[in-house]
C-alpha cells in the first residue's frame, strides 16, 4: 500500500466524520486540504530534524573511522545519544552578539537560512504519488527545487553581514560567489535529465526510470557526465568540504558563523544537514530511480518506496562524508577556476552529448 492510498483513505474517513457533525462537504474538503498542507509541511520539518540528528552522529563516527579513531563512545551505547547531548548543550549556551553587530539581521540570518532550505522538500517524491506539493512538482519541480535552493545563500550573506565581523563577511561573500558559480553546472546537469525524461517534474523523472536497476539514469552512458557534475556542484551548493569556503576554519576562523553561538549556530547546522539530505534525495531521484526498487516495478519485495529512496540517499550521504574527510579544501581561485573553466564547459558538452543521443534516437 503506497503513501498515496493511505492518504486517500484517511481523507475519506475525515470527510465522513465531519459530515456526521453537520459540516458542509465543501468546507470539510477545504479544511482537510489545509490539514494536508500542514501535515506535509510538518513531515518536511521532521525530515530535516531527523536528518540533523542522524547525520551529526554518522558524521562523527564516519570521520572517526576514516581517521583511525572511534568517534563518540560515551553517550549511550556506541555514543548513539551524542546528537541529543549536542542539542541540549547548544540550547544551554549563552547567546553572544557583538556589540557593533546589526542585532536584527544577526537573528534573521539563521532563521532565513533554515526556512528557505526547508522549502525544496515539498517537491521531493517520497513514494508513488507521495509528493507534498504534487502540483507544484508537476508544474516546475526541478526548477522550483533549484530556485529555492539558490535562495539559501541569502541567509548566509545576511548572517555574515549582520555580524559586522571581517571573517564573517568575507566568508559570506565568498560563499555567495561559490554558490552562484556552481549553480550553473547544476542547472546544466539537471537540464540533461530533463531532456531524457521530457518533464520538469521530479516525480515524472522517477516514472521515466521505471523498471529494474538497468533502467535507471546512472547506467545510461550519456548520463555519466551529468552524474559527476551534479554530485560535485551539489556538494559545492551545500558548502561541504572540499568546498567549505564560507566556513574555511583554517583561513577565516569559521567564516560566516564566526560570531554565532548556541541556538543560532545550531539553526545554521540544522539547515546544513537538511540540505545534505536534500541533495542526496535529489541525486537519488535524478539518477538512482528515486523510490523505485532495484528489482523492478512493482517491487517484488513489496517494500514501501520511501525505504528505497532513503537507502539510496544514505549511500550518497556516506559518499559525500567520505569525500569530506578525504579531500582538502580548495583555494578560492581554484574553486572558481574549477566552476567556470571546467564544469561549465563540461556541462555544455554533456548537453551536446544528450542532444546527439536524442537525435540518434538512443534515449
Amino acid at each position: 500500500m503506497s503513501i498515496h492510498t493511505i492518504g486517500v483513505i484517511i481523507k475519506d474517513w475525515l470527510i465522513g466524520l465531519l459530515a456526521g457533525w453537520g459540516v458542509p462537504v465543501e468546507l470539510s474538503r477545504l479544511l482537510i486540504e489545509v490539514l494536508t498542507w500542514a501535515v506535509g509541511a510538518a513531515l518536511c520539518i521532521i525530515a530535516i530534524m531527523l536528518a540533523a540528528l542522524v547525520f551529526i552522529y554518522l558524521e562523527r563516527k564516519v570521520s572517526g573511522y576514516i581517521q583511525s579513531r572511534l568517534g563518540p563512545t560515551r553517550c549511550g551505547p556506541v555514543g548513539i545519544l551524542q546528537s541529543f547531548v549536542d542539542v541540549i548543550k547548544l540550547l544551554l549556551k549563552e547567546d553572544i552578539v557583538p556589540a557593533e553587530a546589526d542585532r536584527v539581521l544577526h537573528t534573521i540570518g539563521p532563521i532565513l537560512f533554515l526556512a528557505v532550505s526547508a522549502l525544496a522538500y515539498v517537491v521531493v517524491p517520497w513514494d508513488e504519488g507521495g509528493t507534498v506539493a504534487g502540483k507544484v512538482d508537476a508544474g516546475v519541480g526541478v526548477l522550483f527545487m533549484a530556485a529555492v535552493g539558490s535562495m539559501g545563500l541569502i541567509g548566509i550573506v545576511v548572517g555574515g553581514w549582520g555580524s559586522n565581523n571581517k571573517w564573517s563577511l568575507l566568508g559570506a561573500i565568498r560563499g555567495a560567489a561559490q554558490m552562484v558559480s556552481y549553480e550553473i553546472p547544476m542547472l546544466l546537469a539537471l537540464m540533461c535529465v530533463v531532456l531524457q525524461a521530457e518533464t520538469l517534474s521530479l516525480a515524472g523523472i522517477v516514472e521515466d526510470q521505471k523498471g529494474s536497476i538497468i533502467a535507471w539514469n546512472f547506467l545510461r552512458p550519456w548520463m555519466w557526465l551529468p552524474v559527476v557534475l551534479f554530485l560535485i556542484s551539489g556538494v559545492a551548493e551545500i558548502n561541504r568540504t572540499p568546498f567549505d569556503i564560507p566556513e574555511a576554519e583554517s583561513e577565516l576562523v569559521s567564516g560566516f558563523h564566526t560570531e554565532y553561538t548556541g541556538m543560532k549556530f545550531a539553526l545554521f547546522f540544522l539547515a546544513e544537514y537538511g540540505n545534505l539530505l536534500l541533495v542526496a534525495l535529489i541525486f537519488s531521484v535524478l539518477f538512482l530511480g528515486g523510490w523505485l526498487s532495484p528489482f523492478g516495478y512493482p517491487d517484488p519485495l513489496r517494500l514501501p518506496g520511501i525505504i528505497w529512496l532513503l537507502a539510496k540517499s544514505l549511500l550518497i550521504v556516506l559518499i559525500v562524508m567520505w569525500v569530506r574527510w578525504t579531500l582538502p579544501r580548495l583555494r578560492v581561485d581554484q574553486l572558481m577556476g574549477l566552476a567556470w573553466k571546467l564544469m561549465i564547459p563540461a556541462g555544455f558538452v554533456a548537453l551536446g552529448v544528450m542532444c546527439a543521443v536524442i537525435m540518434l534516437g538512443w534515449a
Partner: protein
Amino acid sequence: MLFGLPYTNYVEYLAFLSVAGLTLLGGLGTIVARRVFPACLWLLVCLGGVAGLYALLAGHLLMAVQILVYAGAITVLIIFAVMLLQRHTGRIIMAENQHLIGGVLAAGFMATLILVGIFTTRYQPLAFGDTPATFAGDNVKLIGHLLLTKYLLPFEVVSVVLLASMIGALVLARQEPGENPGAAEAPEAESQP
C-alpha cells in the same frame, strides 16, 4: 458556499492580500531603509512577493524565474555591486530626497498612467478553474514549443541581447589596477581575498 462564493475563493483572497501586502511592504522598506544593505533585503522581500503573485496566478514557470533570476541572481548582483561601490555599506545614507518636486511629478505621472491603464482595460472574464494552455498536457512544454516555433526570432534575439549586456557590463565593470580612485584613497578598504 459563504455569501454566494465557494470557500476556496476566500482562501485565495486571503493569500492574495497577504502576498500583495508583502510586496508593498518590501517596496516601502526598500525606499525608507536608511542603510544600503537592508534596502537590498527589503527589495528581496518585494521580489519574493511578486513571485508569490505569479504563484497565485498559476504561472509556475514565471514564479520559478522570478525566484531563480530576480530573488536569487539579481539580488546577489546588487549586493555585490553595493559592496564594490560603497566603501561602507553600513553607513546611514540620506533617506530624504533632494529632488522633491521632480520626484513627486515623476511618481504622480507614473501613478496616473498605471491607474488609467487599470481602469481603461477591458478585462476578459475568467471563470474559476480555467486551466492554463498546454502542449502535451504541460504548460511549460507549450512555452518551450512556442519558443522554438512562433517566437523563434525573439528567442534568438534574446541570446544576442544577453551577449551584448554581458560584454558591455564586463567592459564597464572591469577595472585596471590603480584605475579605481575610490580604492586608492581608502586605506581601510582592502578585503582582497
